[in-house]
């Protein structure tokens, strides 16, 4: 795959792992919201980029004597040297990050990858998040600073509490109907696009959701950008582990993604984290549990 154009939405990362002090750790329903002070990193990562995170101390020795590799997380917000990450504890890596306390240290590399591109001219942005995939849409909403439509799907009311992190009100669907509509976020998207197809869709979520978004947008001729997840060891193109199949062959999500144009994909049903068996629903634009 040829190098991406120079205009790609990418803020360069310092070429080494660094540490950031953990500020607040809050519960947001089923999720954890971690704020870290990243004084040595760039102040303006692009929405949709991601960071490779690990706990600076005691990384290893959890379940299955893991974690060993860092885990990829899109930042939820980046303001004045403060990075915020939204995560769900679903494996030895995310569990260790989630148990960090104020004053402890996070090791990180980033920002990495390419983020969201601007909406196609003459279209309104429609943000579609599934579960933890809401994370990279928060900073995107901040940046678009307009009346972007936000559609969110969650498993349950506890997960849906993350909707409160968005400005304004988001349309909600839950699997069990305990918050918002009972059903899928793609039902909301179909209604939204049916009413007015002049939209650019920005979506992040589990593989089945992304594939449903891709297929719907292809059917309606709507431009879509998808933030995908795939098992990733390094985050900067070294390991070749995170490839996903596209119409141009395999591409590395870490350097050519995680945000890809939906037109590049025959299917968005891709990606699994190393050392885990699926755990669908836990997506942060990067990879790993």
């Amino acid at each position: 795959v040829s190098a991406a154009p120079r205009t790609e939405p990418r803020t360069l990362a310092p070429p080494e792992r660094r540490t950031a002090g953990v500020g607040r750790v809050e519960r947001v329903g089923a999720y954890h919201l971690i704020t870290a002070f990243d004084a040595a990193g760039p102040a303006h990562p692009r929405p949709g980029q991601f960071y490779m995170l690990s706990a600076a101390e005691r990384w290893g020795g959890g379940g299955d004597e893991r974690p060993y590799l860092p885990r990829a997380f899109s930042h939820a917000r980046a303001r004045a040297g403060e990075l915020t990450f939204l995560l769900e504890a679903v494996g030895p890596g995310t569990e260790r990050v989630a148990e960090l306390r104020a004053g402890e240290r996070l090791a990180l590399v980033g920002p990495l990858g390419v983020g969201w591109r601007p909406p196609r001219e003459g279209t309104r942005p429609v943000l579609v998040g599934g579960g933890i995939g809401a994370a990279p849409l928060l900073c995107l909403q901040d940046e678009l600073s307009s009346d972007a439509v936000v559609l969110l799907g969650f498993r349950s009311r506890a997960h849906a509490e993350a909707a409160a992190l968005f400005a304004g009100s988001a349309a909600l669907a839950t699997d069990d109907g305990s918050a918002g509509r009972a059903g899928l976020v793609t039902d909301l998207l179909r209604e939204q696009l049916g009413a007015d197809p002049a939209a650019t869709v920005f979506a992040c979520g589990p593989p089945a959701m992304l594939e449903a978004v891709r297929a719907l947008c292809a059917e309606l001729g709507v431009s879509a950008q998808l933030a995908l997840e795939s098992g990733m060891a390094c985050g900067f193109g070294a390991c070749f582990g995170c490839v996903v199949p596209t119409v141009d062959g395999y591409v590395r999500l870490c350097v050519d993604g995680p945000v890809l144009d939906a037109e590049l994909l025959e299917s968005a049903f891709v990606g699994q984290a190393p050392g885990s068996a699926g755990c669908a629903g836990s997506v942060s634009g990067g990879a790993g549990h």
């Binding site: 893991r66 060993y68 590799l69 795939s230 990733m232 900067f236 070294a238 995170c242 050392g275 068996a277």
Partner: protein, 295 residues
């Protein structure tokens, strides 16, 4: 760290990368030109190239183990012509000597690769990745001393550049393979490559990796690497490039003490892109402390 020579090629220090564990072209996209100012290695080893382009193995390609990683990447690369046209000019901009890793599925393929790569001024050293089956004999070249010797004998007259044989740890006696490589004219040997490994999908009990099996690397293989490097260093007179689980200056010092002339950092670079620089700095302070003690 003091400068050294590897097969006549001057290096500012002894820390290399393991082939396939650092993509300098992709890293430059992520980190920018500052990567060249703070380049992590004293020589750069390319990802292995083959005669024809390869897409690599179907995903999933990774599995995290206790203190390590199994990978099944499958040598994706642009092929010889694509490498020479697209990658080599970019790798030539790196601030350190370039070692190009090549793999052939027959001795003829290997000969073509060595001759064409060796012709290019940008290339200082050539590494033979012999961890693949010879499609004519079905034998893994690097698992057998005689097969390794035949491969080295075939390519030796085709280039004046140093030829380094990357040994596989999946051989009954790596030291015997190393000796055969030396006798056939290799200028150095490098070890260890990854150890063959496997993981099962816990939901289905079927192989997790798209390529079924993969190679284990990381701290999990460090003790095995140290023993194999020591055994090979005792068996040959040519330089040994030691690697396997190196994550600190202490680990590098251990491999040097076991007889290695250089060390390579591999999987640790996945965790920290500056791991090579950190290992070199830690090694330098260990050597300083050691020198002070002797005085």
């Amino acid at each position: 760290l003091s400068a050294i020579e590897l097969c006549g090629v001057p290096l500012a220090g002894p820390v290399l990368n393991g082939s396939g564990t650092f993509d300098a072209i992709a890293a430059r996209r992520a980190f920018g030109e500052v990567l060249l100012e703070r380049f992590p290695f004293h020589a750069f080893v390319s990802k292995t190239i083959t005669l024809e382009p390869r897409q690599g193995n179907p995903p999933p390609r990774l599995w995290e183990t206790a203190a390590g990683l199994i990978n099944s990447i499958g040598l994706p690369n642009r092929g010889l012509e694509g490498f020479l046209a697209s990658d080599l000019p970019e790798l030539a901009e790196l601030p350190v000597p370039l070692m190009v890793s090549v793999m052939g599925f027959s001795r003829d393929e290997l000969a073509t690769l060595v001759a064409r790569v060796g012709d290019r001024d940008e290339v200082a050293l050539i590494e033979l990745n012999v961890s693949c089956p010879n499609v004519e004999t079905g034998l893994v070249m690097g698992a057998d001393p005689a097969e390794t010797a035949r491969a080295v004998e075939r390519v030796r007259p085709l280039t004046g550049k140093p030829v380094i044989v990357k040994l596989t740890p999946n051989a009954a006696q790596p030291a015997a393979v190393a000796r055969a490589a030396q006798e056939a004219g290799a200028d150095a040997v490098a070890l260890i490559n990854t150890l063959k490994g496997m993981a099962l999908d816990p939901r289905t009990a079927r192989p997790w990796l798209g390529g079924r099996t993969g190679g284990v690397s990381g701290p999990a293989v460090r003790a095995i690497a140290l023993e194999q490097v020591a055994a090979v260093a005792r068996a040959v007179d040519i330089p040994v490039i030691g690697m396997g689980g190196v994550a600190s200056g202490r680990h590098a010092a251990d491999l040097l003490a076991a007889g290695a002339a250089c060390v390579a950092v591999g999987t640790e670079s996945f965790r920290d892109p500056a791991a090579g620089r950190r290992v070199a700095a830690e090694l330098a302070s260990l050597q300083l402390a050691g020198a002070a003690q002797i005085k």
